[in-house]
């Protein structure tokens, strides 16, 4: 069994409520931080822990915190990103639904460290029932003196507010989120200035993911150095993975980032293998934006080594033969799935979610969807495949926010690794409407060239 730091108590009945949560050691990190540590010491522990942002980009959290500007007399804010809209990702929901107090506890400690007296949780609008769960947890915490004025007699005041979004993936991007919190359309801002200098209402702001902020609790409890001993290299601590698609046991799992992808998929402790005894064809291992890999490159790196489930392991080989850990949204496709169709649904998603500010993203996502629609429906031409490649390459890196890249990468990777499946659709317009290309050679052993 791997180490569990976040979900250790998730199975305990009543853990959603304050009394039970407290009885199992809840809110110790707030006591420790507020009573025995300075704000700088809290930031220092988070730095030492090596904790990297769990929202997708993997930026070191402690470093981000240390960038926050502290102009005299200007309030600062911590904003918790609970927008969770990247297809394949449903881990933050699990945390908030089952362990709301863990998030609230992490938010109090983090607010203390950053000096945020009004902290906001921006939650995707569809998670409407979770708003009630969080608000109840906040009320309980407040009634027990963990929030409000003069917390634990320290002089530190803090309130946490929950704000619902209203259906827009782009509001997960931190500057779009801030715009949305200000009551505007979710159009990302041009950076700089970065939120750490000018964020919510022009004030210094830190935006962190739900899981990142929850991880602050074990970090303070055990100390940053101990936390950093879990995992390998720069992948410290534990990571929540939301596994979905054609798996026997889809769900949310906590891993300590030392296991192999193969173990994660096939062992009974985790996903229990592919559903219905089918074979693995492909996987998008870190949320819909990261490159899709065929089975063979997913389980092994191009060097023929077992691929490990962590930041470095999943990105081994770069985009040529690797992918990314991303948000931890692990999407598995079995031998009966069509990569073209899957790519089409993602292209449609990004077209739908583009905010429309930059022309490469606004126009490019629309074109890509149209072309993929034609290929999928037996109306594609060979030249369409190159055209798709060309469009995605012109979006990447040419937009205000990374949604453009996020729309381009899945298409580039699908063509890179599954080009023959696209070609088969073009060459067999009728047959492709009746059956799928199947597993083909995508699980074949990788040829590793022998080097001296």
């Amino acid at each position: 069994m791997g180490v569990k730091l976040l979900l250790e108590n998730a199975h305990i009945e009543g853990i959603r409520f304050y009394e039970t949560y407290r009885k199992h050691g809840g809110y110790r990190s707030v006591e420790k931080a507020i009573k025995t540590m300075s704000t700088d010491e809290v930031v220092e522990e988070v730095k030492k822990s090596g904790l990297r942002g769990r929202g997708g980009a993997g930026f070191p959290a402690g470093m981000k915190w240390s960038f926050i500007a502290k102009p005299e007399g200007v309030p600062r804010h911590l904003v918790c990103n609970a927008d969770e809209s990247e297809p394949g990702t449903f881990k933050d929901r699990y945390l908030m639904e089952f362990l709301p107090h863990l998030l609230i506890e992490g938010l109090i400690v983090s607010s203390f460290a950053l000096g945020s007296h009004d902290t906001y949780i921006y939650i995707r609008g569809e998670y409407a029932w979770i708003v009630d769960i969080l608000e109840q947890a906040i009320t309980e915490a407040k009634n027990n003196g963990w929030l409000g004025k003069n917390i634990l007699g320290s002089g530190f005041d803090c309130e946490i507010h929950v704000q619902r979004g209203a259906g827009a993936y782009i509001c997960g991007e931190e500057t779009a989120l801030i715009e949305s919190l200000e009551g505007k359309r979710g159009n990302p801002r041009i950076k700089p200035p970065f939120p750490a200098v000018k964020g919510l209402w022009g004030r210094p702001t830190v935006v962190n993911n739900v899981e990142t902020l929850a991880a602050v609790v074990p970090i303070i409890n055990m100390g940053g150095e101990e936390y950093a001993k879990i995992g390998v290299g720069r992948s410290t601590g534990t990571k929540l993975i939301s596994a979905c698609g054609n798996l026997r046991k889809p769900g949310v799992y906590e891993i300590d980032m030392t296991i192999s992808v193969e173990d994660f998929i096939y062992s009974d402790e985790y996903c229990g293998g592919i559903a219905n005894g089918k074979k693995l064809k492909a996987c998008i291992p870190g949320g819909s934006s990261v490159p899709i890999l065929p089975a063979n490159l997913l389980l092994n790196t191009a060097k023929g080594e077992k691929r490990i489930m962590n930041y470095e392991g999943l990105s081994d080989g770069g985009f040529a033969t690797g992918s990314m850990l991303g948000s931890g949204g692990f999407i598995v496709l079995d031998e009966d799935q069509c990569v073209v169709k899957n790519t089409l649904t993602l292209a449609r998603f990004y077209r739908h979610e583009s905010c429309g500010q930059c022309s490469p993203c606004r126009e490019g996502t629309g074109w890509m969807e149209k072309i993929l629609h034609n290929i999928e429906h037996g109306k594609g031409k060979m030249s369409d495949i190159d055209l798709l490649w060309d469009i995605q390459s012109k979006i990447e890196g040419n937009t205000i926010c990374p949604l453009g890249d996020a729309a381009a990468w899945p298409i580039a990777a699908a063509i890179r690794h599954f080009r023959d499946e696209f070609e088969w659709h073009v060459l067999n317009p009728e047959e492709s409407q009746k059956r799928n290309y199947g597993l083909a050679h995508y699980a074949d052993k990788i040829h590793v060239p022998v080097t001296a």
């Binding site: 259906g167 827009a168 009551g183 505007k184 359309r185 596994a243 054609n246 949310v252 999407i331 649904t345």
Partner: protein, 167 residues
Amino acid sequence: MSIKFNDTQMAEFKRLVDRYPQEYQKSALIPALHLAQESFGGWLSSETMDYVAELLSIKPIEVYEVATFYSMFNLKPVGKYLFEVCHTGPCMVSGSDNIVQYIQEKLSIKPGETTADGLFTLKTVECLGACGYAPMMQLGKHYREHLTKEKVDAIVEECRKNAAINN
């Protein structure tokens, strides 16, 4: 329906506004639009939007531009029960197409349409963060997950019953 919050709704509106600094009341716009949509028939008419603008002391255009940006705001009337079925990749590979197809046949409507009796609207939506429990749909405040044809039958039945009780 006259467009004015009742006392309970107004108290909730005040609570929403109070979460933000005095000079940044506009921040309450999205939560206020949710409240208005729930209070006034499940959609936002221009009358409703103008009312929200007035309450927040902002220009109506500031409300329209936000209401049109976010997919959860309905700018046209919808059925009493809105079936929002996810059809993004992870749900698609888990069989969401069959569920959408089945609902279409069962209710004789296409995505985007409402049944003649005004009870049901079918909508296909993008990932709702329930990918591991697919196929799924949102119905009101809650998710219905691991959908099968039998579950769809039961949900439709449940809605019809509730509608009959409330009439």
